[in-house]
Structures are given as structure tokens and as C-alpha cells.
């Protein structure tokens, strides 16, 4: 590992929907464990958030996606209990198929593993930590949030991983999810939990070779805002240094992603020549501490991700998360077989179109005869831009959705559907899209919209992902 290898760009993603703590208090009559929580919409999950943050990091860097040849993803909430989701992220981000993949999961310490994996790799490597835990609405569900942070490692890093330390202990029951369950649980044995977390994290952090007085911010395990401060009592960092790396009151308990987002906040708050520390914890239990040397400042994109959001009422938050409103739908999904869907992934993830070599018309999808000259040609590949103009639009209300979209509509309400026109290679092409992350009253023909990677629908247990569009 070159000593100069480090983080060259970062990305952040926080779901558009936010639940204010006041809503939680009104619903439960008790004080809310977090001030605010991000709510993943019905079409979001750890994969879509990972792709959004990963794309943000790549676009903030000098690298093309195809130059990134290692992808490390961490989450406690993979979309399926068994099946790789890394290949979907590779395809959605536009990485090459020979990229190496590393997945870290099963505990909130996973983010540290992904960061170390990308730091150790050769060549440009992306670490993405994305998480969207759910909990019983009366317990962990009161604090759960969501979000994703991405770190692109390459030579000449602005933020260099200088040391790492891990400690573990056979101490279960603090934060776990039983097989077959979707909700995180804990035995709530307060002293046992706090001591285990504090001991493991502080010992790991203490083991780092880092000048403590040069550390300007630390991002510690943070299921709630008080825990990092409790950990710090066993360390030499003051409250302000801890607060700089604590974000849980803005995004909620986003599992593995909260300390990763906290690390972005810590980097944001640090000048060149300072140091930042991350201290991740996972029940079971283990802690991994990471020390970073900040050599140059980085635009993390964190504040933009935090600012872009709209408040939703408590019941909507429950619906969006699928806590209520889940439904089985008669009639099944559209007859688009998995193989035919799979063949169209370059179009569905990356808007790959074709240009007619004879007349220059752009075809989307690039198949069949040319849409303009009607000749049977072999299209030359062109990519449509990820933004375009709405040329026709409607709102599909309750009762108007094809059955495969009924579960989403139950959770997310009416959705907009538009035909978008995008220009490429001197021509333009149109394609139908679903709209997301928008107030439907504010969207009309003539508006500009941009692509977002989202869940489209699930059928026979398989979720199909693709691009939806939101106002630019």
C-alpha cells in the first residue's frame, strides 16, 4: 500500500423523506430518541442508496466509473438474506465486470471493514456504506433512519487511512436481528450494553497510533446521540470533537451508515494537517477504530444531502418503510421475464441507446428497425444523458396502477408517470419513466428531470431495479 493512497473523493446520500422527532413524540407520547430520522421511500433500499452515494463519489472525482476496479459495500440490510447485491451495484454504477467485490454485512461494524477493504486494494477502489434498518415501531423503530456514505480511494489521497485497530469480545444481545426477522432488536440491559460498547470502542480507539491532540473530530458508534459521548468518557476527546462526528440526530440510526456519515461530517469539519478518528461497533461484539490523516480538504457533499428533504407525517413514514400497508396483489406482475429484463439492464440502469448508422436517428431501446428510416440496421452505441425534459405526464392515482405497482402505491401513494425526451448525438429519444422524490402537483410538461436508481417492482421474490426520474 502506497503511503499516499487514501480517500480522493466522497459521496453522501440521505433519503428525501424525513421524520421529525416531534412526530414520534406525538405518536408515542414519549420523548423521541432522535431529533430527526431519514425515511427510505418505498422504492429505496440499501442498494439504491449505495448506488446514489457511490455515484456521487465517482462524479466528485477525476475518475470515470470504469476506472474503479474494486467495490466494497457494507450494510446490515442487504435487500435479500442470500444473494449478492454487489453485481447490481457494479452494473448500476457502470463499473467493469472484472471489478473485485467485497461485501461486509451482519453487523453495524461492517462500514469499517468496507473502508479497510478499499484502502488496501490496488487502484481506484470504492467503499460504500449504506443502511436502512427497521425496528419495532415502539422500540428501535422510534430511532431508525437511513443513509449512505461513499469513499473513493486512490493514489494521492486527500484523507489517508493511517492506522486501524480491532477488538472483540463474546458479548451478544446488544443489537441483533433473528433469522427471518426484519427488525433489529436488543435486550435493553442498559449497563451491560453501555459498558461493552464503551470498553470495546475506546480500547480500539486508544490502540491507534494517532496524535490525540491533532484529532479534530471523531465519528463513533451512534445509535443515539448520547452513546458517542458515553464512549468518549473513556477517551481524551472533548464533547465538541465528538459532536463534530455525530450525525444520528439528523439521519436517525442508520445502522452501519451512521458512523460512516459521521466520518464525512468529521472530514468536513477538519482542516488539512489534522486527524480524524472513526470508532465503529457491532454487537456480538467487536469494535474497529480507524485513524485518518487529513492532508487536503474534500468537498464531501454531506450538507447538500442533509438539506434536501421533506418532512412526512408519522403514518406515512410507517407506510414508506413497509411497517404498515404491505399487501399481496392478485394478478401478478407484467409478463417481462427475468431473462428479458436482464438483457435490457444497460438500458434500464444506464440509458444505453443506439444510433442508426444510416440516418443518425437515436433509438431507445436500441433494437428492431430504426425508428426513423425503418431500416434494419446495427445500431452504434450511444448513451443518453441522465436528464431530460418531460413531454407528457400523468398521475396514477389509487386504483389506476398495474398490479405490480400496487404494493408500492399502497406505501408511497399516487405516482407520476412521464415521457421524457433526452438529447444525444444530434438527435433525441423518448422513454417512459416513473417519477419519484417530487410533489406531483409541481411536475408538468416542460420540466427538467434527472435519473435516480430505484426499486421498480418485485415479482416472484425478485426485485427489479432501474431508473426513475426526479425534478432536477
Amino acid at each position: 500500500m502506497s503511503s499516499d493512497r487514501g480517500i480522493v473523493a466522497t459521496g453522501a446520500f440521505v433519503p428525501h423523506l424525513r421524520l421529525d422527532g416531534d412526530e414520534i413524540e406525538a405518536a408515542w407520547g414519549t420523548s423521541a430518541p432522535v431529533e430527526r430520522a431519514a425515511v427510505p421511500a418505498a422504492d429505496e433500499d440499501a442498494l439504491t442508496m449505495a448506488v446514489a452515494a457511490g455515484r456521487d463519489a465517482i462524479e466528485s472525482s477525476r475518475f470515470e466509473a470504469s476506472a474503479v476496479d474494486h467495490l466494497a459495500i457494507a450494510t446490515t440490510t442487504p435487500p435479500l438474506e442470500e444473494e449478492e447485491f454487489g453485481p447490481r451495484a457494479v452494473a448500476a454504477l457502470g463499473l467493469e465486470a472484472d471489478s473485485t467485490l467485497a461485501t461486509a454485512t451482519q453487523s453495524t461494524v461492517a462500514g469499517a471493514d468496507a473502508l479497510r477493504s478499499a484502502a488496501r486494494a490496488d487502484g481506484p477502489a470504492l467503499a460504500v456504506v449504506a443502511d436502512a434498518p427497521t425496528g419495532d415501531p415502539g422500540e428501535a423503530g422510534q430511532r431508525v433512519g437511513a443513509g449512505a456514505a461513499a469513499f473513493l480511494f486512490a493514489a494521492d489521497g486527500a484523507v489517508v487511512l493511517s492506522d486501524a485497530a480491532t477488538r472483540s469480545r463474546d458479548a451478544p444481545g446488544i443489537r441483533f436481528r433473528e433469522s427471518g426477522s426484519e427488525t433489529v432488536d436488543g435486550l435493553d440491559i442498559t449497563t451491560y450494553e453501555r459498558e461493552t460498547i464503551r470498553d470495546l470502542v475506546s480500547v480500539a480507539v486508544d490502540a491507534l497510533d494517532v496524535p490525540a491532540d491533532a484529532v479534530t473530530a471523531v465519528a463513533l458508534h451512534q445509535p443515539t446521540a448520547d452513546i458517542p459521548h458515553r464512549i468518549a468518557k473513556a477517551l481524551s476527546y472533548d464533547a465538541e470533537t465528538v459532536t463534530r462526528g455525530t450525525l444520528v440526530d439528523e439521519v436517525g440510526d442508520a445502522g452501519a451508515a451512521t458512523p460512516a456519515l459521521g466520518l464525512l461530517a468529521a472530514i468536513d469539519a477538519s482542516e488539512p494537517s489534522s486527524h480524524v478518528v472513526a470508532g465503529c461497533f457491532g454487537s456480538g461484539a467487536s469494535a474497529t477504530a480507524l485513524a485518518f490523516e487529513v492532508r487536503a480538504s474534500i468537498q464531501t457533499g454531506l450538507s447538500a444531502a442533509l438539506d434536501a428533504g421533506v418532512d412526512v407525517p408519522y403514518a406515512q413514514a410507517l407506510r414508506e418503510r413497509g411497517t404498515i400497508g404491505e399487501t399481496e396483489v392478485a394478478g401478478g406482475g407484467a409478463h417481462v421475464s427475468l431473462p428479458s429484463w436482464q438483457r435490457s439492464i444497460p438500458q434500464r440502469y444506464r440509458l444505453e441507446a443506439g444510433q442508426c448508422p444510416d440516418c443518425g436517428a437515436v433509438a431507445f431501446p436500441p433494437e428492431g428497425a430504426c425508428p426513423d428510416c425503418h431500416e434494419r440496421v446495427t445500431f452504434e452505441s450511444v448513451s443518453l444523458p441522465r436528464s431530460g425534459e418531460i413531454v407528457a405526464a400523468t398521475v396514477i392515482g389509487q386504483g389506476g396502477a398495474p398490479p405490480e405497482f400496487v404494493p408500492q402505491q399502497r406505501r408511497d401513494g399516487p405516482f407520476g408517470v412521464a415521457i421524457v425526451e433526452a438529447s444525444a448525438a444530434g438527435d433525441s429519444a423518448r422513454f417512459p419513466v416513473q417519477l419519484t422524490d417530487c410533489d406531483l402537483d409541481d411536475v408538468s410538461v416542460g420540466d427538467r428531470v434527472e435519473a435516480r436508481f430505484r426499486r421498480i417492482y418485485s415479482v416472484e421474490g425478485v426485485t427489479r431495479y432501474g431508473l426513475k426520474f426526479a425534478p432536477e
Binding site: 392478485a330 394478478g331 431501446p365 413531454v391 405526464a393 417512459p432 416542460g446
Partner: protein, 391 residues
């Protein structure tokens, strides 16, 4: 080549009939068609049948055509089931006309049937989305209301049309359908009602959308020789135009009209050697209000953007220059997908024989316009009184 004539046409009631099957509904249509033949018609003289259906619900998806003709006792005749979504029986009629014109059949049965109201809402919508472009358009989350609503959004943007313009289609067609005993929604509606109904897919509200319907329709197509023998007032198929288009709205050049309608109309007018000015009435495919507006323009009744004016000025009212959808149209009469095309021919047959419920004075030439999906397949037929109006 002989000309083809309609010597009989009929339909079942259109509506929701839990007690009926697609076969029993077709019985009603067939009986009415046979009864409408002036002379003594022997059903054994039917040489061949072409029956349209989408197959909503997936009931007898294979071989439903033969199942119908065998049920009717038309034992052994060749029967072809025709599928072109909502234009299925427009195309079935075209096939029957071709069979007669070619001389392969002296009498051909054209018809269609659909049962749409005997399943759950989700199941119905599954089927209402199978004739849009499946891989992209439907998977953006649309059924047909959504696709036509997109068309409406583009049309309103381009030409400044309003909800009131869309609603006038419902008011006119309901006024006509209220006179049609076969109509599913045979009641009148006010402009206020039609403008203020709940949205189905904005900008289209409930009154801008046709219902789902059970029903069947049939037409007996015969050679000139048979027509002269059996009919006092046969109706000549003067022009049979048809055209295909890209199945998805997003794939087509125009978002505000249906190019295949334009092409099919031109072919039908050319064959009949007439123009839109020669028409006395038309039955157009008003599955959604925007579709009737687009049809006026695609069929050459007016210039682009002028359709709202035609409605406002009453040009397409029964007493206007070019009455449209005197049957009530799909909006009021109902839209049993596979039965709609020949259902329109039933109205044209009645008009040209002076037997319509909303009769257009001096009707000599009429047109029917049947659209599959949002414009992937279209038929346009021009019909004429064979007696030159001297019955």
C-alpha cells in the same frame, strides 16, 4: 373481385353480466345480427368466421373463436380468432371483408366478444395493461388510462385545450347513449358532472374514461350476389383501411395524435374515393376523451388543434354537420374490448338503414374508427348505402 356488403349486424347488451359467458353473450349478438337480415337467412350459409377478442382474464386464451362458433352450432366452419387489442374486431371485420372480396367466402361472420367485469380489480388492471408496450411503458407504471392521460397532457400543452373540452366528449356521448337500449352507461351527464369527477389519471377524470364492459357484437358480411338476394338495404363496405404503428406512445413521433389512424383513414378514403367532407356520421374510438379529440384530427374532420372547437360548436352533435358516436361511443355504450370494432359496424349498419336510435337524417355515408391499444393497430371502414339512399 366482388364488393363486400353488410347484410346483418347486431350486438348483445353492453354492461356487466355475471350470469353470462363470452359464448352466451355472442349468442345474443349473433341472433340479433341474423334477425336483422331482411330475407330468409340460413346460418348454414356462413362459410367462415373471424372473431376478435383480447381474451381479458385469460379465460379460453387459445381457440376461443372455435369455442364460440361450435357453441352457436356453426359446426365445422373455419374460425379464426383475431387479436389486435381493442381493434380486434375491427380487424376481424377486415378479414371477413377480405374473405368475401377474394371470393373464398360468400358469407363471412365477423364479430367480437369480451368479458371484463367478473374478476378482481387487480386482475382487471393486469389485463388493461397488457396491450400497452409491455417492457417499458407498462413498467413505468401505466395502464391505458395513464398512457392516454399522457397524450392528453401533451395535447393540452400544445393546443391549450381544457378539462371542459375533454368533458364535452362525455356530455355528447352520454346524451347519445341515453337513447341506446344496449348501452352500459345509458344516462345523461351534465358538463359540470363531467368536469368535476374524480381523477383517474390526471388530466383524465372518471368521465373522460370508458368503462370496462362485457359484451359481444356480430356482423354478417356477404358478396354482392348474396346481398342482393337477402337484403333490401345492404350496406356496402366502400373502404377498408388499416395501419399499424409503434405500440408504445413514447416510440411514436406524435404524442398528440395517432399516426396509424391517419394512415388507415387515408387508405379507407382512397378506396371509397371520398373525403371526410363526404361523411354523414362517424363512430370513432373514444376509449378516453382525448382519443375522440385526436380522432377528429387524425381522420381529417378538422385541422390539428381544432377538435375542441368542433365539440364546442356542436358540429359533432346528432344535429350537427358530422355527428360522431351516435351510439354513445365507447364512453356511454361501453367498451368490451374485442367487441368494439364490430359494435361500431352495428351502429353504422343501423344508421345507413335508417334504424338507429339516434338517427342522422339522410345518412348515406359513414365511417367507423377502431384503435388497438394507444395506436399500435387501427382500422377505418367507410360504409355506404348500397341503394344510393333510395330505399
Amino acid at each position: 373481385m366482388t364488393d363486400a356488403y353488410i347484410i346483418g349486424a347486431g350486438q348483445s347488451d353492453f354492461g356487466s353480466f355475471p350470469g353470462e359467458s363470452y359464448r352466451s353473450l355472442f349468442d345474443d349478438a349473433f341472433d340479433e345480427a341474423v334477425a336483422s337480415v331482411d330475407g330468409d337467412f340460413d346460418t348454414d350459409s356462413i362459410d367462415e368466421a373471424f372473431l376478435g377478442t383480447l381474451g381479458v382474464g385469460g379465460r379460453q386464451l387459445g381457440l376461443s373463436g372455435p369455442a364460440v362458433t361450435e357453441h352457436l352450432g356453426l359446426h365445422g366452419i373455419p374460425t379464426t380468432r383475431v387479436e389486435n387489442a381493442c381493434a380486434a374486431s375491427g380487424y376481424a371485420l377486415r378479414q371477413a371483408v377480405m374473405a368475401v372480396r377474394s371470393g373464398m367466402a360468400d358469407v363471412a361472420l365477423a364479430g367480437g366478444y369480451e368479458v371484463m367485469t367478473d374478476m378482481s380489480g387487480d386482475h382487471t388492471k393486469w389485463w388493461l395493461g397488457v396491450s400497452g408496450e409491455t417492457e417499458w411503458e407498462r413498467l413505468s407504471g401505466t395502464t391505458f388510462a395513464g398512457v392516454y392521460a399522457q397524450m392528453a397532457s401533451a395535447y393540452m400543452r400544445e393546443y391549450g385545450a381544457t378539462t371542459e373540452d375533454l368533458s364535452r366528449v362525455a356530455v355528447k356521448n352520454h346524451a347519445n347513449g341515453a337513447q341506446n337500449p344496449h348501452a352500459q352507461l345509458g344516462f345523461e351527464c351534465s358538463l359540470e358532472d363531467a368536469m368535476n369527477a374524480p381523477d383517474v389519471a390526471a388530466p383524465l377524470n372518471l368521465y373522460h374514461c370508458c368503462p370496462t364492459t362485457d359484451g359481444a357484437s356480430a356482423a354478417l358480411v356477404a358478396s354482392e350476389e348474396v346481398a342482393r338476394e337477402l337484403s333490401d338495404a345492404p350496406v356496402r363496405v366502400a373502404g377498408a383501411g388499416a395501419a399499424s404503428g409503434r405500440v408504445g406512445l413514447f416510440q411514436r413521433e406524435s404524442l398528440t395524435g395517432i399516426p396509424a389512424s391517419e394512415t388507415a383513414a387515408r387508405r379507407a378514403y382512397d378506396e371509397a374515393d371520398i373525403g371526410p367532407d363526404d361523411l354523414d356520421f362517424a363512430e370513432v374510438h373514444d376509449c378516453f376523451a382525448i382519443a375522440e379529440l385526436a380522432a377528429y384530427e387524425d381522420l381529417g374532420f378538422c385541422d390539428r388543434g381544432e377538435a375542441p372547437r368542433l365539440l364546442r360548436e356542436g358540429v359533432t352533435d346528432p344535429d350537427g354537420d358530422l355527428p360522431v358516436n351516435t351510439s354513445g361511443g365507447l364512453k356511454s355504450k361501453g367498451h368490451p374490448i374485442g367487441a368494439t370494432g364490430t359494435g361500431q359496424a352495428v351502429e353504422a349498419f343501423s344508421q345507413l338503414r335508417g334504424e338507429a336510435h339516434v338517427q342522422v337524417d339522410g345518412a348515406n355515408v359513414g365511417l367507423t374508427h377502431n384503435v388497438g391499444g394507444s395506436g399500435g393497430g387501427v382500422t377505418v371502414h367507410v360504409f355506404e348505402r348500397a341503394d344510393g339512399g333510395a330505399r
